[in-house]
Amino acid sequence: MEINYSLLTIEIATALLALVVLVIGLVVPREQRYGLGYLVTIGLAGILLVSFGFYGINSSLFEGMYIVDDFSVFFKQLFLVAAILVSLAATLYVRKISANYGEFFIMLVFATLGMMILSSAGDFITLYLALETMTITFYILTGYQKTESKSVEAGVKYLLLGAMSSGILLYGLSLVYGMTGTIVIADVAVKISEMSAMPPALIVGIVFLVAGLGFKISAVPFQMWSPDVYEGAPTPVTAFLAVGSKAAAFAAIVRLFIVAFPAYGAQWKVLFAALAALTIIIGNLVAIPQTNIKRMLAYSSIAQAGYILTGVVAANAAGVKGVAFYAMLYVFATIGAFTVVMNFSANTGSDEIKDYAGLAQRSPLMAAVLTVCLLSMAGIPPLAGFAGKFYLFSSIVNQGYLWLVVIGLLMSMASVYYYLSVAKVMYMAEPTDNTPITVPVGAKATLLMTMIITVFLGIYPEPLSVLANIAAKALFF
């Protein structure tokens, strides 16, 4: 059998990049390793450029185990963008928190690799392996500040709970495998369509899959870990975790449920609709009383997952397009926000919202970026979040989910309350300390990029919507 390895160029390049950085990190003296972050950024950017050439291939390797289609390419680009932004933003912060500068970026690249493979996974083994590659690197990253009690606590919690959810996911996968006799996602659908009745074990399996992947996207009631981990983990990790891990899990969910279980659509759609509603409501409600900005963003990102789930509920091209579109703009908004948080804490050592008083005077750029990013998450036009929500909700409104749309929109307006509370502190309150906050070049680049893209995509969503459309079409041919 002929295997076209060139299809794996992106993944191989990423792996190589990690290894190169590893080696250089060993060779270069400790004091001069600060260039590594930029090296990673440049390398990833190069890969991102290359990846544009992979649109339109729509092929698979190893008898369907590994799929290279537009959908996966889109998500790979998403992970790359996230990794680039995070590595660009994190240089100063990482220097402050740890002496092991190089390892951080290596882990970052490996996590990216895991996500990429996950988005391409065509069977259960690949899926599981990719998931674990990603997750285990995140365990390490979460506990990266090993002298910092909170960081390690977050790491332990994440590891124990993550392993449990992996167990559940695996158990679900094994049940599906048992009922259908195949582990290739595309074949599962074929096998199910040949069945006359729905075996109960399959239902249990599907629910286990929902739970296992729901854990990764932190859907209620599987969300409990995420606020603690987000709060405890080093901020760049939190950013990457919130964006990359979540998007990767969504890619897996979309592929798994839409490709493998279209026959049980009626069942899992309602299940996801209920989860989405719960997630949106709980996430937004609990975010309101938070005083720590990272924790607040954690709850808000739970709610964001709820919105994205509505696109899964739609289970059609429009819905998937919504998922893809929203996941991408969510990258910018979230990383923008977390970059502000990380830069702020690098300067002041605090993550408390009340310490943000007068930020608009101390650093207008940071205040503006944080405001824009938060409002984009709330879905206020003309920011990208609005367009994203529009895609998502318009995909389900006609399928009888008007109630979900109303809940979603109402709660997103309620979310404005806590987002604006942050804006209020930044803009209205007088600073207690008047010294300006300096923003290093890399972080500044990240901030500007996220803000400009968030605004631009809100006003003119066409470019991204074209890409998202291509991605979505790949699943529905």
């Binding site: 709970l161 559940i168 629910v207 599987f222 069942q267 009383p289 309350y417």
Partner: protein
């Protein structure tokens, strides 16, 4: 000239408008120029009004039958077209004459009276604005235009009453005047709206054709009566009829020329004029006529009974104005446009005269208001004295002064209504007899209180020893003289013997012209009544034959009631401060605590829910795991045991 004036009658109100704009925008810092411009403009208007009057008299019958009308569209849409323009007929020509005349005289008078006031130019601006508004009202060919200018005169009234706005009393009086008349305008506007809706037009001539056939427009007589009554609320407010008369006496807080011009001679008669213009509406339904007549007669008597005990010159004159306006309304209610307009005209002359006279006195006495501080002014200010006497005689209705003719005509038409020869047959005939008695009593009381004031002020000894009264300057005396002359001869136009049959009533009328034959019984009896009133005043206040203090003690309850204006003001104040404001405060409470309370409650609930759910997040890793597995179990149970058929899921919105 006549032709030009007729065709360009719109210039009459426009010129004062120009004066207003010029003064406000440019001339404010130059008081003399302002006054000059303003007076020039009103004089030109006056001349045009005279030439229109001549034209109308020459035209005769033609103008009565078909008024001369010109109009342009003000705004329009499908189903609603409103015009602005002018309509010249004898009634409006008469009004134009009266208004421009009094306005011109008052403006001249004000040169002296307002001399040195720091708002001198602004005062002239307001006077010009008023002249513009009033003239616009007079020539209005449709009800909306009338309403527009009606409101504008209200504004001018507000501005001029409150001209000395730094005085607490003036500012309150201005506010009261505006709000009270506004209350009436509420009815007027509603009436206009209803007319527009049912008859599809507001043009007076059109309405005059359509309203008599009201059944074709889907209205019953009762409904039309109601509309008329609602419409009449406007005149009640503007012309100070009971129960909305309260603002007019307070309006005397304005400068005296204003009182003369606006609150005696011109603006307050706008209500009468409006009813006169829409008399075809009232005449169609007898009930409305009776209502108007009764309100008029009652107001006349009521105000007269208050005027008897008041102690301020301008207040007395104000109540007298209210009373006389009631007279005019009564005439309209009796169906005679002629009588009411005639009285309107003569009243304008003599009441303006008396107000200006009062102004002259106030000027001399340095704004001392209490008449008991005056006395013996005769020797200090002869011109004022004699002209004032003419005014008093005129209002008392003594031959051959102007008031005699008009008052007599009113009594005649009311009497005619009570004797079946008038139009109001059937149920209201008895009412008109009562009204006649009320009117006669009013006539007597009027004579009494006028001369009471006259004697207290001008005869006897000066009671305030510190005062140094003096005669007023020429600019103030001249208008007095002119008005004095008019108060004598003004009534003669209604004297059939003098005018060869083409008396006032030939021109200003509604319906066929009938020569009213002098009813000698009436003439004599009313004159006798007036003389009794004067005699009483002479006895009590001049000759001191009877002590007025004794009288007041003897009839103490009545005296107090009258002196305190029947406590109507107090009642209104109580209602406004306790009931209306009370409701306002109560609603505000509702708004803050209930309407807002619900909103804040929802917000608070959301927050509380947030804090509650937050507590689930205990930080204990195994709790998290438990929740996770509990979730899985619940989902499994739901998915396994629930009927997963599409139909039941559609409850949740799935499966479409």
């Amino acid at each position: 000239m006549i032709e030009f004036s007729l065709n360009n009658a719109w210039l009459i109100p426009f010129l004062p408008a120009v004066a207003f704009a010029l003064i406000v925008l440019v001339l404010r810092p130059l008081p003399r120029v302002s006054a000059f411009v303003s007076i020039t403009c009103i004089l030109i208007s006056f001349i045009m009004a005279i030439s229109i009057g001549i034209g109308v008299i020459q035209g005769g019958e033609k103008f009565v039958e078909e008024p001369f009308k010109k109009a342009v569209t003000w705004f329009s849409m499908s189903g609603l077209k409103i015009e602005m323009g002018f309509q010249i007929d004898p009634t409006s020509a008469m009004m134009l004459f009266v208004v421009t005349l009094v306005a011109a005289l008052v403006q001249i008078y004000s040169i002296g009276y307002m001399h040195g006031d720091k708002g001198f130019s602004v005062f002239y601006a307001y006077l010009s604005l008023f002249a513009m508004s009033m003239l616009g009202l007079v020539i209005a060919p449709n009800l909306l235009q009338m309403f527009v200018f009606w409101e504008l005169v209200g504004l001018c009234s507000y501005l001029l009453i409150g001209f000395w706005w730094y005085k607490y009393s003036a500012r309150e009086a201005a506010k009261k005047a505006f709000i009270t008349t506004r209350t009436g305008d509420f009815g007027l506007l509603m009436g206009i709206l209803l007319l527009q809706i049912f008859f599809g037009t507001l043009d007076l001539q059109e309405l005059a054709v359509r309203i008599p056939n009201f059944t074709e427009y889907g209205l019953t007589a009762g409904a039309l009566t109601l509309i008329a009554a609602i419409l009449f609320l406007g005149p009640i407010g503007k012309s100070g009829q009971f129960p909305l008369h309260v603002w007019l006496p307070d309006a005397m807080e304005g400068p005296t020329p204003v009182s003369a011009l606006i609150h005696a001679a011109t603006m307050v008669v706008a209500g009468v004029y409006l009813v006169g213009r829409t008399l075809f509406l009232f005449k169609t339904v007898p009930g409305a006529m009776a209502f108007v007549a009764f309100m008029g007669a009652f107001t006349a008597l009521f105000a007269a009974s208050i005027a008897i005990t008041q102690t301020e010159m301008k207040k007395i004159l104000a109540y007298s104005t209210v009373s006389q306006l009631g007279y005019m309304m009564l005439a309209l209610g009796a169906g005679s446009l002629t009588a009411s307009m005639f009285h309107l005209m003569t009243h304008a002359f003599f009441k303006a005269l008396m107000f200006l006279g009062a102004g002259s006195v106030l000027h001399a006495m340095h704004n001392e208001a209490d008449i008991w501080k005056y006395g013996g002014l005769k020797k200090y200010m002869p011109i004022t004295y004699w002209t004032f006497l003419i005014g008093c005689l005129a209002i008392a209705g003594i031959f051959p002064f102007a008031g005699f003719f008009s008052k007599d005509l009113i009594l005649e038409v009311v009497w005619a209504n009570s004797t079946l020869s008038g139009h109001a047959h059937g149920p209201f005939q008895g009412l008109y007899t009562l009204l006649f008695i009320m009117a006669s009593m009013t006539a007597m009381m009027t004579a009494f209180y006028m001369f009471r004031m006259f004697f207290i002020c001008f005869h006897g000894e000066l009671r305030d020893k510190h005062a140094h009264p003096h005669e007023s300057p020429f600019s103030m005396a001249m208008p007095l003289v002119v008005l004095g002359i008019l108060s004598v001869v003004g009534g003669w136009v209604g004297w059939p013997g003098l005018t060869e049959g083409k008396a006032f009533g030939y021109f200003v009328r509604m319906g066929e012209f009938e020569i009213v034959h002098a009813n000698w019984t009436l003439i004599i009896s009313s004159t006798v009544l007036a003389l009794i009133g004067i005699g009483g005043a002479i006895a009590i206040y001049w000759k001191n034959a009877i002590s007025h203090e004794e009288l007041a003690k003897k009839f103490a309850p009545l005296y107090k009631l009258s002196f305190n204006k029947f406590y109507v003001d107090e009642l209104y104040l109580w209602i406004i401060h306790n009931i209306i404001d009370g409701i306002g405060r109560a609603l505000w409470w509702v708004d803050m605590h209930i309407v807002d309370g619900v909103v804040d409650g929802v917000a608070k609930t959301t927050k509380v829910l947030g804090s509650v759910f937050r507590r689930v997040q205990t930080g204990k890793m195994q709790h998290y795991a438990l929740v996770l597995f509990a979730g899985v179990v619940v989902l499994v149970i739901i998915m396994s045991f629930a009927d997963t058929s599409v139909a039941s899921l559609s409850l949740l919105g799935g499966g479409r």
